[in-house]
Structures are given as C-alpha cells and as structure tokens.
Symmetry: C2
Subunit: 359 residues, 2 copies
C-alpha cells in the first residue's frame, strides 16, 4: 500500500523522535496522528491529531487506527501485542516482527550471529542458576542485561571480579537476562540505513559516537576509522536491514575494536528499529534527513539521497545544558533544536545542536 500526499501516518510514541518525524511529515504533505500515554510530550506539539491512552487500550487503539492510513512507531518498547492488533486493521511499518526481534537482546544477538556477524560473546541467563554457568563461560568483566526494556544504560550492570552475582541478579529484577562479554572497544560507531517498500537500501556515512553516563553526548561524521571499515559497516547494516525484511529507517550501533594483530574490526552491539539519535545531524548535514527518509520509506515513496554536506558535529543537550540555548543561537554555524520539554531533569534529552563545517 502506497500513500498519497495528504494521507495520515499514525505514530506510536510521543518523544522527540516522534516530534521530528511529524515535522518531516509536514514538509512532504503528510499528516500525523500521535498515540502515547503521556499527556505532555514533544511529539504532541507537531501532530495533526493526538490520542492519549495506554498502549493496551484496544478501544482507543481502534479509534486511532481508523483515522490512519498506516502506522509506525518512534519508541521501541511499544508492546508487540499492540502492534500486532493494529496490523490486523492497517499496515504497520516497520513490521511488528522486526520490532519484537530487536526488543529482546537474546533473540537480537542470536539473529545477528545467524547472519554471520560478529557480536560480543553472550549467554542466556534464564534464571539465577544460569548466571553462574554464564559467568564461567563468558568470564569477567562482563555485562548482565535484562532481555527487554533497556535503553540509555538502564537495565544493565557490569560484573567485575568480586561482584555479588545473586544481588546483581535480584537488583535487575530476577527476570530473563543475557550476559555479554565486555568489549574493549576503541570507538563506538553507528550506521543509519533505510530500506524502501520495494527493497532499495541506502545508508548515511558512518557516525562516531561518544557516550557520557550511558547517554549519547556527541556524534561526529565521518567516523575516524580505517577506510576499509566504511564499506564494511555499510555491508553489515545492509545485511541486517534485509535480514529483517525491514521497511523504514534503522540504527545499527557497533563497536570498533582492535584484534590481536592490531587491525580494526566491527562488532555489532545493537539494533534500534527506528530513527536514531546519532542520525539527528542529517537534518542539516545530509541531502535528506533520516526523518523524511523514514516517512518516504514507510509511505512507499522513493528514498532520498544520503549525501553528506560537510564535516559534522552533533551534540545532545542533556538536562541543564539546554539552558545555554541563547549562547548557541548566537553562534553563526550552530543549528539549535529544542524538543519543547518544559522541565529539564538530569539525563533528559532536551535538544541538540548540529554544526556542519563546509568543506
């Protein structure tokens, strides 16, 4: 099903990703209906229509989907049941199957291995008893993570020599987990890629990411890696997006590490089944933004060029950093984005700033 201009796209989730998706939709003549449980949230400001209801409310979902021509999501922790229900009524892109696979760190890593891609060593930790065996297999340092609902460093703990395994397991909620070997990486990088309804794949240039307290702080493009890694990173993203039979924009996070011989190699860390924070620079820095790209893909429209326009630096404004908005506006080469969040809390993404240095 291909959309016409004027069609309505339903977006599940109302954060800044939804806000920027809705803004991109406006540019190309599409309307958005945003569905989320939160009454005050960034995407509501940019939406043509809003539904505020839990993801489990079947009646609200039904009323919502009746106004939409198709549905997408900006938030990877939307319950799969919600998307599966919506899919019985209207197309959902990307598919609930792709989302479900990436929502669970164990199925995600198993899928990546199945594609022949390198990941950190990992082991299933079904219960406390399995944790001991997993630690013997993977060693320490290693990272114990809940299988589901993790983001920005939430739902994970580093296991070191002497960590109290039982206590850590309980602190993470004693549910299904995965133990991952620690990767001594040199850099974190990501690829933002898109696949059209017809199967065409495009990718943006490799991003280099710096995190602070598990939250993305800065992205630079291009990444400072060995040149042979650039086509390799693209290849990995393409394998994943095709393997998932995915329609839309995806973010693939990778580690860049050195092997024993000193050569750089790429280890896939995780898949974000949505537009991605490390792709925000594409608004000013690429021919087509990742947000417009996602809308084009799910609408069944041709994908846009991903050509980069210069040397990129994108910085997130976290918590109180957004108070510098006036100084940032006064810098001639900085583009300020604020997400309309009225309260700055520590660790909260309030906006971002992009600088494109023209070659």
């Amino acid at each position: 099903m291909i959309l016409s201009p004027g069609a309505t796209v339903g977006i599940l989730g109302a954060g800044q990703l939804g806000r920027m998706l809705a803004m991109a939709a406006l540019k190309i003549g599409l309307r958005c209906h945003v569905y989320a449980p939160e009454t005050e949230a960034p995407a509501h400001d940019a939406a043509h229509a809003r539904t505020i209801a839990p993801y489990e409310d079947r009646a609200a979902l039904r009323r919502f989907v009746e106004t939409c021509d198709l549905v997408t999501f900006e938030f990877e922790n939307v319950p799969t049941e919600c998307l599966e229900f919506l899919q019985t009524l209207k197309p959902v892109r990307p598919s609930p199957r792709a989302l479900a696979l990436t929502q669970d760190r164990l199925t995600e890593k198993t899928f990546l291995r199945g594609l022949g891609l390198e990941t950190a060593p990992f082991a299933d930790v079904a219960d406390a008893g399995a944790l001991m065996r997993a630690v013997r297999e993977i060693g320490r340092p290693s990272i114990l993570k809940t299988r589901r609902f993790g983001y920005d460093g939430k739902g994970q703990t580093m296991l070191r020599e002497g960590s109290d395994l039982g206590a850590v397991h309980r602190a993470l909620g004693a549910g299904p987990m995965i133990l991952e070997g620690f990767v001594a990486f040199e850099r974190e990088v990501s690829v933002i890629a898109a696949r059209s309804l017809e199967g065409a794949v495009v990718a943006y240039d490799l991003c280099e990411n710096e995190h602070e307290r598990h939250i993305l702080a800065r992205t630079r493009v291009p990444a400072h890696v060995a040149p042979e890694l650039l086509p390799r990173a693209r290849e990995i993203a393409e394998k994943i997006i095709v393997g998932l039979d995915y329609v839309g924009v995806i973010g693939v996070e990778m580690f860049c590490a050195r092997d024993a011989a000193g050569a750089e190699r790429l280890i896939v860390n995780e898949i974000a089944p949505r537009v991605h924070n490390s792709g925000h620079w594409t608004i000013e820095g690429a021919e087509t933004s990742q947000f417009e790209q996602h809308m084009r893909a799910i609408a069944g429209w041709p994908l846009g060029a991903t050509t980069r326009r210069g040397l990129i630096e994108m910085r997130n404004l976290i918590g109180e950093e957004a108070e510098d908005w006036r100084d940032i506006l006064a810098e001639p080469d900085m583009s300020l984005h604020l997400y309309g969040k009225l309260q700055a809390r520590p660790g909260r993404k309030m906006g971002h700033v992009t600088r494109v240095l023209r070659p």
Copy 2:
C-alpha cells in the same frame, strides 16, 4: 518582551507561510496557536492550537491572545483593527503600523519616496475623475491598482492606448486606487531581510524571480545582476526595515532596469511585511531559514547567519504541477515541500522544490 523556549506565538493566517513558520517554531522549542477563518488550511496541521474565527470576532480574538505570549501574522491583509486590538493585550510583531503602511500601495510608495528610494512614477487616483488627470501625468502603458488587498496580480489592470478608463475603473471596484508607470524592467529581484528586537539587521543574498501569470514561478540565487547592485539592494532593504522600525522578516521586491546610459539600477516595487515566497530556498540553502529567522526576531532572540550554501533554484508547484511529486522525490538533489492542500486549483500554490548546487 523576550520569549523563553516553550512560549506560544500566535499566528494570524493559516496558509503555507504560517505552516512553515510553525514548523520553524517547533524546531526551536516554541509553540504556535494559529488563528484564521478557514477550517482547512496548511498551517492548522502544524499548530499546537487552532482558532477558526473571523478576524473581526473580538471574543475569539481575546480568547486566542490570552493563550499567546506574542502575536505575529503570515498574511498581509489581516485587518489593521484586528492587530490594533490584539496589541492592547499582547505584543504584536512586526508592528500593526508597519503592516498598515504596506497594506496601502499609496502610503507604501509615498514612504519609499520619503526614504529617497526610486519607485515607479505614481499618482493618487481617489476617484474616476482623478484617473484622467493621473493618466495625463503618468502616461501609458501604466498600471491601475487598488490601493488595498492586492496580491499575485489581483486588483490591478494594465492601461494601454485605447483602454476604456471608466470601464477599467469600475471593474476594479471604483474605490481608492493608484496609477503606476510601467517599468520596462530586465529582471525582478528581491531581498529577504530581518531585523531583531535590538535593531540588528541581516539580509540574504539577492534573489532573482520569474513570474508566470503574476505568480512567482522560479527563484534563482544569486541574481544575475551587475555586482555593484548587490550591496545597493541590501542597502535599500536596510533603509526600509529601519525606516519601518520593523521586527521580523520582510521581503522587498524590486525591478532591475537599465537607465538611458545602459547602467543597471534598482527600482523598489513593493514591500511584503512577512516571510516571502522568494525566500523559501533558505530552508535548505541558507544557514538559517527565513522562517526560523522571523521566529528568532520576534522572540527577541539573536538572529541567525544568512550564509548561502550553494547555487539555488527554487520552483513553485502551482496547481497540477504538484502531481509530479513522485518524480521530484526521485531526483537526488531536489528537496520537495508540499503544503498539505487537498485540492489543486489552477494558480494555487501547492508546494515548492528547492535545488542547492554545492559549489
């Protein structure tokens, strides 16, 4: 009064200019409340809140302005009384005075002359009797225009040898008019400029405009004029924006003509007290878009850089031309904008396309 992020800007008028203003507001964390008589209109899609009511409805205006921190307009034919009423309750930027002056072709031209700027020769046509005297003074070909409510070629007629003056006068409504001498111009150009609350002035590079049936068809930047005209055009725009004590973005339309000695000179045609169609290229083609620039100016924020990013071509999509949207999307260097208008009528601006050729 200076706005903080999260503040609400009221916009009078709900066309594509309002839509793109509201999108720019979203980018920098401002909200928009759109007020217009039309139920279906481009800016409503991008607004946080909408009021649909006539510009004369005092009760609706009062409810609207209570939700706003300040008010601006995207439509130059808002009744001055409406703005003057709103101004008693909240700041209106640009000022109702600037709007009133430019709404009337006679006061506008008189103002321009007062600044020492060249315009077409003109004469006041208060009534049918004055028309004969005006034609004797200005000669033919000349253009008879209503003093108010003209745009896109509406409210004007060319007077040639043999035109029936009485019939033309009646056809234009027999109200107050102005007769303007015909300028044999080589090109039409425009300057988009902005002035901040503190009085700083910036201008974008000179645009060259091609009209078809009185509607802007194409804009190219930079304009192909003698190099000495570029600072002159900027100077003219600066005189006007300062002379109006203006806050916000203004469009100044000029003719480029040759004098008897063959030298090029600039003749001011008209002032648009708002963002301008010939400035749409600034979204992709300049460091700061004219829409964000307007929002920054009226918010009391620092203005942004106007640096151009390449050779620009902007094309309006008029009426059925918007049906080519899919072919345009498939062109890698074209950026498509659609205004969400559901019905294409002849002469209706449905969207635009920008191409930035990188140097």
